[in-house]
Amino acid sequence: MKTRYSFGGDEHIFVEVDEEMSMEAFFRSLSMTNAVRESKIRGVTEICPANASYQIKFDPDLISPDDMLAELKRLESSAEQADSVLKTRIIEIPVLYNDPWTHETLMRFRERHQDPNSTDLEYAARINNFTSVDDFIAAHSGAPWFVSMVGFVAGLPFMYQLADRQHQIEVPKYLSPRTDTPKLTVGYGGCFACIYSVRGAGGYQMFGITPMPIYDPNQEISYLRDFMVFFKPGDIVKFKPVDRDAYDAAVEEVEANRYAPLMRDVTFSLDDFEKDIDGYNKKLEEALHAN
C-alpha cells in the first residue's frame, strides 16, 4: 500500500491510498480525510473520501497547489496512527431480488451486456461459481456490507461486503452503460454493491430493488427530514430478501410516511473484525435485532 498524489487540474488533489480495494485502504482514506477536515486548511472547499482514495478540492487563489500538496503529505503520517474503530450504525435494507422493474430494464439493454442470453443475476451467480441464483442471493444477503463511499449521484452508497477476499463477489460493469436504471435498484460492479438513489444512467449489474428511499430532496420522508441524504461512509448495511407481498407492504408504509428503517448504533473495530470475520458479523446481526 503506497499513497500516490496527483493534481486534478489546478483545483483538485487526487490521493490514491491503494490501487486495490481493502478495508485497510478505506480506513486509511477515511482517517486522512478526517485529519484534513480537523486541520481546517484555508482554501479547502470539498473533502471527498472514496473507497481506497480521496480527493480534495481547493481554491488556488487562497493556497498554492504545491502548498496544498505539502499539507496533505504532512497529515498522512498522523493519519496512519489513527485506530480503525468507528462509532456507526447498522441498517436493515429489504430487497426484492429478481424484481419485475429491473428485469424489464435489463432486458431492454441486453445488447450492452456480456451475456445477452441470461439475466444479470444468472450471469453474476455463474461467474462467481454459485450453483444457483438462490445460493448467490443467500451469499449477497448473508454477510453485511460496509458503506465505503457515497457519490456518483446524490446519496448513492458504494458498499463493500464484510467478508474475506475469497468470498467477495466480483462482477464487471455493463460493456456500455445503460441510459436508464430504475430508482432504488440494488446494483453491483467490481467488488461493490450500490443502491441507485435516483433513476438514471448506470453501468452496474442489476440484482433487485428496495422499497426504502435513501434520498429525498424535499425532506418530507420522516427519516430524511434532518438531511436529504441517508447514507454516510462507515454505515453498515444488512440486506434482507423479501417477497413481493412484503415489498408491496413496505411501499405502502413508505407512501403513508410510516416507514421506519430498522437500525441500531454499533461500534466497528477493524482489528476485531479481522480476527474473526464470521463471529464478528454474527455479533453485528445480533445488535441489529436486539431490543
Binding site: G8, Q55, G189
Partner: protein, 322 residues
C-alpha cells in the same frame, strides 16, 4: 411580480454560482456552465454577480413580464427580442410589464445567460438556487422550466444602457482549444496513446450536457498491460471507484473522452487521464455538437497563469460596466 414562462426553450434552468460543499455526498456544485458570462449578465443589470439567472441552451425561452425589469443576455449569441424588437447581447435593456422577451435562432456558442434585475428568487437549497435536475434539487421545482411556470423575482438592481465592450466578450475559438494538466491515471495509457490524444482533432459528440461533454473522432487509446487490481473490474480502463475532479477527462474503454462539468457525477470506476484547467471550464459550456476541439497539454504554471488572466478579464469587465 413573477415572470410567466410561455415556452421553455430546450432545457432552460435557473443557475447561480453553485452549491459547493456537498460533492462528498454525490451532490455536485452545479451553477452556470459559463460563469464569466453569468457574472457579466448580473453586473449589467446591477445584481450581485452570483444572483440566480436563467441558463438557456441552444434555444431561448419565451417569457412574459408582469412588472418592469432590466434584462441582459450574455454568453452564446442568441439575440433577445422585446416583443418583436431585437436587442443587443452583452448589454442591459428594459422590459416593461406586459411585454414578452423571446429569442432569435442561435448564431454561435451554446448557452445564453439571461439576467433579470432582482434575480430569479426561487428558494435557496443547500446554499444555492442552482438547478440539479438529476437529483430533482434546487431551481424551480428541481427541473428545467416548463410552459406555465411562474418565476418570482427579487428586488433591487437595474441600470440602463451599460454594455460589455466587444474585446472583453469571450467565446470558444474554432477549433476550440482546451488546455489540460495530465495526471491521476495518465500512466495507464501507452506512450503512443498519450501522443495521439493531444495530436488528434476531436469533435463534440451529441451527448454533451451539464453533467459531461463527450468527444469523438480521435484514435482509440491503448493501455499499458496490468493485472487488474482487486475490485477494479477487468476492463483496462477500470479503476477501484474513486472521486472525479470537475473537468477530469475519462475515457471508458479507451474510445471517447468524457469531460465532467458542473453537474458532474462525483465518482466512478473509469480511469482519468488528466483534467481541463479551471480557466477553460467556461469555454466548454459554449461548445456546440460537432465543434472540432483540440486538447493541449500545459503545466501547472500555465494553468495558474490562465486562471490569473481570467480574473483580470473579469476585473476589466467590472471596470467597464462600473
Amino acid at each position: 411580480m413573477p415572470i410567466k414562462v410561455l415556452s421553455p426553450g430546450l432545457a432552460t434552468t435557473v443557475q447561480d454560482l453553485g452549491r459547493p460543499g456537498y460533492y462528498h455526498l454525490g451532490i455536485p456544485i452545479s451553477g452556470g456552465m459559463d460563469r464569466l458570462a453569468l457574472r457579466a449578465a448580473n453586473m449589467l443589470v446591477g445584481n450581485d454577480e452570483g444572483a440566480a439567472v436563467l441558463e438557456a441552451v441552444f434555444m431561448g425561452p419565451e417569457l412574459e413580464f408582469t412588472s418592469d425589469a432590466m434584462v441582459a443576455v450574455t454568453g452564446a449569441e442568441l439575440p433577445p427580442k422585446v416583443d418583436s424588437d431585437v436587442r443587443e447581447g452583452w448589454a442591459a435593456f428594459e422590459v416593461k410589464a406586459g411585454q414578452t422577451l423571446s429569442f432569435e435562432y442561435l448564431k454561435s456558442g451554446a448557452r445564453a445567460y439571461i439576467a433579470i434585475s432582482g434575480g430569479v428568487d426561487v428558494p435557496v437549497v443547500l446554499g444555492s438556487r442552482s438547478t440539479y435536475p438529476l437529483g430533482a434539487l434546487g431551481g424551480h421545482e428541481g427541473r428545467p422550466l416548463q410552459a406555465g411556470d411562474e418565476l418570482p423575482l427579487g428586488t433591487g438592481g437595474g441600470k440602463a444602457g451599460t454594455s460589455v465592450p466587444e474585446n472583453l466578450r469571450r467565446g470558444p475559438g474554432m477549433p476550440a482549444e482546451l488546455r489540460v494538466l495530465t495526471g491521476i491515471y495518465w500512466y495507464r495509457l501507452t506512450e503512443e496513446a498519450q501522443g495521439n490524444f493531444f495530436e488528434d482533432t476531436w469533435k463534440v459528440a451529441p451527448e454533451a450536457d451539464r453533467i459531461a461533454y463527450r468527444f469523438r473522432g480521435g484514435r482509440k487509446a491503448s493501455f499499458v498491460d496490468r493485472e487488474p487490481p482487486f475490485g477494479a473490474g477487468s476492463d483496462p480502463s477500470n479503476i477501484v471507484d474513486g472521486c472525479y475532479p470537475y473537468g477530469s477527462i475519462q475515457m471508458p474503454g479507451g474510445t471517447e473522452p468524457i469531460v465532467l462539468h458542473r453537474d458532474a457525477v462525483s465518482g466512478g470506476g473509469y480511469f482519468m487521464l488528466g483534467t481541463v484547467i479551471s480557466a477553460d471550464m467556461d469555454l466548454i459550456g459554449q461548445l456546440q455538437p460537432h465543434v472540432p476541439t483540440k486538447f493541449t497539454e500545459v503545466d501547472m504554471e500555465t494553468a495558474l497563469g490562465a486562471r490569473h488572466e481570467r480574473h483580470a478579464l473579469l476585473d476589466n469587465i467590472r471596470e467597464a460596466i462600473g
